[in-house]
């Protein structure tokens, strides 16, 4: 048996037996990325919505910047957060570097532009459709935002899932600010990156299998949401 097939057998065994080390890494990954997406949504949804409906000078510029930030390389975000959190950085006193919190901060920054840009687009389109009706109801800004965010829920959930996909699969940011410390900051991607070079192919492959499964599940979720939204759209034509 070649080294690779042997590793694959071991990997499948790790997954099926729910190996404690493997589970720990997967759970930390999910915890970090889900929290990052939650924070990014809490900030990004209202921000994107405001950007979608408010009319002010410099709005176009902000939208362009937002769109550009979507393509930010994770390593650059990691480096920036590292500089902020390192001993000599402005937030060094909190001692957050190489903690899960640092990884959540980095991934939040990575996901925020995606959530904001996608929700901005969603809310802007919906607002154009609802504008006259909401004005006829004498809805104030808060009520309007609430209406649009709720009615855009299918597309906004898609945005959140897209953000989660980016967070859970990235390695550049978490490896810089987390450091892949065993039992502390080791997540799926950093483990794959570093265990491979150390020769623990089985663990890397097992994590790879889990990661691919999660990625496929997220894609399926987006498809289901999209199909649901489309059905409603046709029914509403």
């Amino acid at each position: 048996m070649s080294e690779a097939t042997q590793a694959l057998y071991l990997a499948v065994e790790l997954v099926i037996s729910m190996d404690a080390g493997l589970v720990e890494i997967v759970l930390l990954s999910l915890q970090v990325s889900l929290l990052a997406v939650a924070v990014a949504c809490a900030i990004g949804l209202p921000l994107g919505a405001l950007l979608g409906i408010a009319r002010f000078r410099g709005r176009r510029l902000l939208i362009s910047i937002n769109n550009a930030l979507m393509g930010l390389p994770p390593v650059v975000v990691g480096l920036a957060v590292y500089l902020m959190l390192s001993r000599s950085g402005p937030f060094g006193v909190f001692g957050l570097l190489y903690t899960p919190t640092a990884m959540i901060i980095a991934q939040t920054l990575l996901v925020l532009p995606i959530v904001a840009a996608l929700s901005r687009q969603t809310i802007e389109d919906l607002n154009a459709e609802y504008d006259e009706y909401l004005r006829s109801l004498d809805m104030r800004l808060a009520g309007r935002l609430k209406t649009l965010l709720w009615d855009g829920r299918a597309s906004l959930a898609t945005a959140a899932i897209a953000g989660l996909g980016r967070a859970i699969a990235e390695v550049g940011a978490v490896i810089i600010v987390g450091g892949n410390i065993d039992h502390v900051t080791r997540v799926m991607t950093t483990a794959i990156a570093l265990e491979t070079s150390k020769g623990d192919l089985a663990l890397a492959l097992a994590l790879g299998l889990v990661l691919v499964t999660i990625a496929l599940a997220l894609n399926a979720a987006v498809e289901i949401l999209r199909a649901g939204a489309e059905r409603k759209l046709h029914a509403g034509a």
């Binding site: 006259e132 009706y133 006829s136 109801l137 029914a235």
Partner: protein, 243 residues
């Protein structure tokens, strides 16, 4: 005879409305009575929906003034608009109605009673939990009507509310309009249905090419329209107008 301020709800004084250089309404001089059902008729593109939007405050006159006459001691005049093409929110039928009254900040129990009453008035009870956007065209129009009724407005603005309704639903909406007018809610109705206009109207405003060419009591309007465009319209002749 009463002074105009006590019988008039709103008056247009040489009101014009232009959008992007197009004059959609020109020199409108109208007094809308406080009571009854006022019907606006006129060919496609005459400016009927635009006039309703001015009344709803969704558009402002480009020139002239639109004045509301409020009896002393009464609050803001509230309007509710049933659009020609209603916007249905992406939620259930009952949630659509509840949303429409949410700016009124009613106590929960009262809001629920209003939702139920509106559902039953518009025969939508069996669809209360259906997604609003899955309703048929006519059902959506009834939902738009239900949302407007639940607001219990002072003025109900109806833009062709029965255009895609079956005879029974049309009759139901007509009865609702009459009941509203009986309860001192002003109704301003746009319709192309001359029979409906005869059944419901106290007075008829006839718009043609952005001008109010006639405003008469309903009986007079249908017996003997004063203007040539109104005569042509009622006789089903195409009106050729140069604007």
């Amino acid at each position: 005879m009463l002074a105009p301020e006590t019988t008039a709800l709103a008056s247009f004084r040489s009101v014009s409305y232009a959008s992007a250089g197009d004059r959609l309404l020109s020199d409108i001089e109208l007094t809308i009575a406080r009571q009854g059902i006022t019907t606006i008729m006129g060919p496609n593109g005459a400016g009927k929906s635009t006039l309703l939007r001015l009344l709803a405050g969704l558009l402002r006159p480009t020139s002239g003034t639109l004045t509301w006459h409020r009896p002393a001691g009464t609050g803001q005049i509230e309007t509710a608009f049933v659009f020609q093409r209603p916007v249905i929110l992406r939620r259930t039928v009952s949630a659509n109605i509840r949303h429409a009254i949410s700016p009124l900040k009613l106590p929960d129990a009262q809001a629920s009673r209003r939702v139920d009453a509106a559902l039953s008035d518009c025969s939508l009870e069996h669809l209360r939990d259906a997604p609003g956007r899955r309703l048929s065209g006519g059902e959506q129009q009834r939902l738009a009507m239900a949302r407007a009724l639940a607001r219990q407005p002072d003025v109900l603005l109806l833009d062709e509310p029965t255009a895609s309704l079956d005879p029974a639903a049309t009759n139901a909406i007509e009865q609702i309009a009459l009941a509203c007018a009986d309860k001192a809610t002003k109704v301003v109705l746009v319709t192309h249905d001359a029979g409906q206009a005869r059944r419901l109207s106290n007075d008829v405003i006839f718009l043609n090419a952005g001008r109010a060419v006639e405003h008469s009591p309903a009986a007079a309007f249908f017996n003997q329209p004063l203007s040539q465009p109104a005569r042509d319209y009622l006789a089903g002749r195409i009106t050729i107008t140069d604007t």
